[in-house]
Symmetry: C2
Subunit: 161 residues, 2 copies
């Protein structure tokens, strides 16, 4: 198995080196072996893992979700239904976002169509719309994370759960 240093993995995965170290810090990549002088050593499986992460990212999975997926993948007591659950949650999110953005698109399109370009701003239907507090009710952008118990965590490194 060919081993290589972080620069090469960075090239193969098309990300900056810092991103790889960041993924390691957050637990997405496990601490790699090191040369006697402390250089990180990677192999093809790490390239695969990086590609997995990037693919998941491209489907809007967060790094925390991606971490879960990787853990499920590595687990032998996990079932496909566990993966499916994560996927369905993401699918749901995507549907809601498409719906919300589609609505925004419609509104903006109508307002733009109705806007007489050469008029003063007073006659602009867009400003009217915003001023009249007609406000788009549709789920908010993000669903909120329930607030966490903030015990005195001095010097705790952020780790994905």
């Amino acid at each position: 198995m060919t081993r290589f240093k972080i620069g090469e993995l960075a090239q193969a995965a098309n990300v900056p080196r810092d991103t790889i170290r960041y993924y390691e810090r957050t637990g997405l990549l496990s601490p790699p072996e090191r040369t006697s002088s402390g250089y990180r050593l990677y192999d093809q499986s790490d390239v695969d893992r990086m590609r997995f992460i990037r693919a998941a990212q491209s489907l809007d999975f967060t790094l925390a979700e991606t971490k879960s997926l990787l853990e499920l993948k590595a687990s032998d007591h996990a079932k496909a239904s566990d993966i499916l659950a994560v996927t369905l949650a993401k699918l749901d999110q995507a549907k809601l976002k498409v719906e919300r953005l589609g609505h925004i698109r419609e509104i903006l399109q109508k307002l733009a169509d109705a806007c007489p370009q050469d008029a003063a701003t007073d006659a602009c239907p867009i400003l009217d719309f915003l001023s009249n507090g007609d406000f788009v009710e549709l789920g908010s952008k993000e669903q909120k994370t329930s607030k966490m118990e903030r015990t005195t965590t001095l010097t705790t490194r952020r780790e994905l759960t």
Copy 2:
């Protein structure tokens, strides 16, 4: 004109007091008058402004964009076409996002449909998809503001621009 303190404006606009002070800090709200003891004093026009901001937010305008819109609204040399330009840019963004998320939705739907819930994770088409580096090409989530590509040389020197 009835004047009131920050708590009442917060109630009227349905936001926390801190958000109002935050908007003031960032220039979305101009510094209000103060009582002799330093309390901020607001009136109906501030309620309207807050509603404008929330309406713009609901259409995915950022606070910076909203600030521009408010400035254009207040300006007397601004034309409706200036507002239109901001709106069209946002419309474009919405279209791209709808397209991207629609694509994601399709992929996730297909993968979910193909997933045999009772199988081991080895047989999961979702993990296959992610492992095979099939990665969704469609604009990234955010368009980035001139990113410095510091892809270190690694055998190939790059000229500074």
